[in-house]
């Protein structure tokens, strides 16, 4: 362990904090079962090597990265102080108040050490909420060489034919949006969600329901209507599959299952109307999150530990122990990493992969249905279109509201001390909108009246500031944009 890889060793403010941070801290770390022992060792290393005099007394609990958000949301107070999680949970965790924003120096550390895709994964709006831990959360193809010859691995059609002929299965979890999306990326579609700094979703830009999307749907159709199709991403080679689309985490098992017939490569291409499309994928990360702390010193000490655990040496140690692909730039350049077969496949697939952005929780449920719809349809082009049409309606519904709601004005502000989260209803008489209730406001309370719960139309331009405390009705002239207070 070298000290210089620690952040704050330079000239940024953290240096001065050294002495204040000295002390012993009891914390809970949630790590996936496999990483529990290694994490314990790494914490011990941190204790003996850090320059601040921090001693972390850590209890490491086995909690899967996939369950972190569900557990955290149940009760943030009882959650781990430091926890591993998969990036798709980022916005849920931010919304639940389960992630502490990174300080300026920490942001600097994370950005300078990790690759760009992993930073994107940890970001909401312009703020960074977690430390990148791996950059291997993607998928590619494992295959059984005795069934699928190497010459066929680039063509989806050939692979399907091989498997059907041999009576073997293709494990491809297409009824899971994470895998479904790959076909759409292949044809150039995109689905981008925009979040603000608080983890709230503002809008979506998505063109899955388009001509390009239809081509992707036809590609999906080829797989899901095959008699070989199994909706799974497990290591199924021992139970009848000859092809499994999954990620690095199944490497050891699959290697064991296939022995000499082990094959791994990027995803194949599919052909529609004579044109070939290379199946895309999401590339994602695992992140390390810090729970918000009420004690500043403890929070800072945990942040130092988090930075250590996501540094080059710890990432390499995890690669060596269980093959987790690093996000750290220096670690990525390590020859052993570059030579790893699964990471090589991931790397090949990388040119067709889209860095996974922050995605609304409902999207996973909405998009996973596309493949099911296609499978259950009569297979006609119009049925495929209908499936995409329904998809679009569903995601728009996450944001769209009825016309009444869209046109209505509401009051929002620090009136209830709720910090601009609650829209208070108003009622219209012609152009004059009046709040349904009178509110007791202190001097200095600020608010705005906005339409359709969005900021497109909001009055007054600058926040209205209450001058004298009292109980008022709030009134808005929607024609002029004038806001006034009516004493109750």
């Amino acid at each position: 362990m070298t000290l210089h890889s620690l952040p704050g060793g330079g000239s940024d403010g953290a240096d001065g904090a050294g002495a204040e941070l000295a002390g012993t801290y009891d914390i809970v770390i949630w790590a996936p079962e496999a990483a529990v022992d290694l994490t314990k060792t790494q914490v011990a290393d941190f204790n003996s090597s850090n320059e601040y005099g921090i001693t972390i007394n850590a209890t490491v609990e086995p909690v899967s990265e996939a369950d972190a958000a569900t557990n955290m949301i149940t009760d943030v107070q009882a959650g781990g102080d430091l926890y591993f999680f998969a990036q798709d949970q980022l916005s849920r965790l931010i919304q639940a108040g389960a992630l502490s924003k990174l300080g300026d120096a920490a942001v600097e550390f994370a950005k300078s050490n990790n690759n760009a895709a992993s930073i994107l994964a940890a970001q909401s709006g312009s703020d960074l909420y977690a430390y990148p831990l791996t950059a291997d959360n993607g998928y590619f193809m494992y295959y059984d060489k005795s069934v699928v010859p190497d010459s066929d691995v680039d063509s989806l059609e050939a692979i399907i034919a091989d498997c059907e002929a041999a009576g073997k299965n293709i494990s491809y979890e297409l009824e899971n949006a994470w895998y479904t999306a790959g076909f759409f990326f292949a044809t150039g579609c995109h689905s981008d969600w925009v979040t603000d700094n608080d983890g709230n979703f503002i809008s979506i830009d998505d063109d899955f329901n388009s001509d390009k999307g239809l081509i992707a749907a036809k590609g999906i159709q080829k797989v899901v209507t095959s008699k070989s199709y199994v909706n799974s991403s497990n290591a199924d080679f021992a139970s009848g599959s000859a092809v499994v689309v999954t990620g690095t985490w199944n490497y050891a098992t699959i290697k064991d299952q296939l022995g000499d017939n082990f094959g791994v490569t990027d995803l194949p291409s599919f052909e529609v109307d004579g044109q070939s499309y290379h199946i895309g994928s999401y590339s994602g990360c695992k992140l390390l999150g810090v729970k918000p702390q009420t004690d500043a010193t403890k929070g800072a000490a945990i942040a130092r530990l988090a930075q250590y655990l996501t540094g080059k040496d710890c990432q390499l140690a995890r690669f060596n122990s269980f093959g987790w692909g690093p996000s750290n730039k220096e670690a990525l350049a390590d020859p052993a990493v570059a030579a790893d077969p699964t990471l090589a496949a991931l790397n090949e697939q990388g040119s067709y992969a889209i860095p996974q952005p922050n995605i609304h929780g409902s999207w996973w449920d909405i998009a996973k249905v596309i493949a099911t719809d296609i499978r259950d349809s009569d297979g006609s082009e119009s049925a495929l279109k209908a499936a995409l049409e329904k998809y679009e309606q569903s995601i728009q519904a996450v944001f769209t509201m009825s016309d009444d709601v869209k046109n209505a004005f509401t009051v929002i502000g620090s009136i209830n001390g709720d910090g601009w989260t609650l829209d208070l209803p108003m009622t219209a008489e012609g152009d004059i909108w009046t709040s349904n209730e009178a509110y007791t406001m202190d001097a200095g309370v600020e608010f705005k009246c906005r339409q359709g719960k969005s900021w497109d139309v909001a009055y007054p331009a600058d926040n209205y500031v209450v001058e004298t405390a009292g109980t008022y009705y709030i009134q808005l002239n929607a024609a002029t944009g004038e806001v006034s207070l009516i004493p109750a």
Binding site: E65, A66, D67, Q77, G79, S239, T253
Partner: protein
């Protein structure tokens, strides 16, 4: 019977139908036993740890049981055992109090009380999980203290399950109570000197069901103990072995764990089966 003796046809028919029944029973027995036999077989498979398409292990061994011993399973097992034991004692006391009272006493609020509990029982219990978690969390009985928390909740709400044993108490003649009361015994004396000895089947039935319940408790137990392995029970701990990221490593260990969990419970159950049957038939249907 005597009338049919000289009808040879009926006798043959009877023999025929008996053979048919035997065939059916054998088929049923096979269907019923197969999953359990498979679990046992797979728990001894050591050549690999994931799901495979064959049943008989290629290599036999105890590796999976050794893995169990080295994991947190011991702790989960102990937790579950403590919960089951406590539930068996306290739940039985509560249920017996409740059912004896509702069977023997006639007081003003009896009818409304029973109707009220019937209505309460119609709410899906799942709903109250969140709030129960919070209450336990305020009492400090979650995560690593999940065991007393789970005991508290299961015992506290067990009064609702008075139905079966009340049905049983109803079958014990009231004249016995009255005779004893005439002889000057208090209600308390009537209970432990006369009723309890007669109610042995239902007492054992209640103990048995209370003891068996915690072994399968998953949803609430997971909710209360999340994130703290030391607070898991067997169901919560073992369920995590079948999640996607662990099933390939832990599948056979899961089978071994299943055997270890099922063995004592099943033996206990089979030993006390007689009382269970008496309890169910005496109580469940007459309630």
């Amino acid at each position: 019977m005597s009338k049919n003796r000289h009808h040879m046809g009926i006798k043959t028919l009877n023999r025929l139908s008996n053979s048919a029944i035997y065939v059916l029973l054998v088929i049923i027995s096979i269907i019923w036993l197969i999953p359990f036999i498979f679990i046992v077989l797979q728990s001894f498979r050591v050549e690999n740890t994931y799901q495979v398409g064959y049943v008989i292990p290629q290599q036999w061994g105890l590796q999976n049981y050794i893995n169990l011993w080295n994991s947190d399973f011991k702790r989960w097992y102990l937790n579950t055992f403590i919960i089951a034991l406590a539930a068996a004692v306290f739940q039985t006391i509560i249920v017996l109090c409740m059912s004896y009272t509702l069977s023997r006493f006639r007081f003003k609020m009896r009818g409304p009380l029973m109707r009220f509990m019937l209505i309460l029982g119609m709410f899906p219990g799942m709903l109250t999980m969140i709030i129960l978690y919070r209450v336990l969390s305020d009492l400090g009985l979650t995560q690593s203290n999940a065991v007393p928390g789970l005991i508290l909740v299961s015992v506290a709400s067990s009064g609702m399950g008075y139905y079966v044993s009340k049905g049983f108490f109803d079958t014990i003649p009231k004249s016995l109570d009255e005779a004893a009361r005439v002889d000057g015994a208090t209600r308390l004396q009537v209970l432990y000197k006369i009723i309890l000895p007669l109610a042995k089947p239902i007492v054992i039935y209640t103990i048995l069901t209370a003891f068996m319940g915690p072994w399968g408790d998953y949803v609430f137990a997971r909710y209360v103990a999340f994130g703290t392995s030391a607070g898991y029970n067997v169901a919560v701990g073992m369920y995590s072995w079948l999640t996607n990221d662990q099933i390939n490593n832990m599948y056979t260990t899961f089978c071994a764990g299943g055997v270890i969990v099922a063995l004592p419970v099943t033996i206990l159950f089979l030993c006390l089966q007689k009382y269970y049957v008496e309890g169910v038939t005496g109580g469940a249907v007459k309630g």
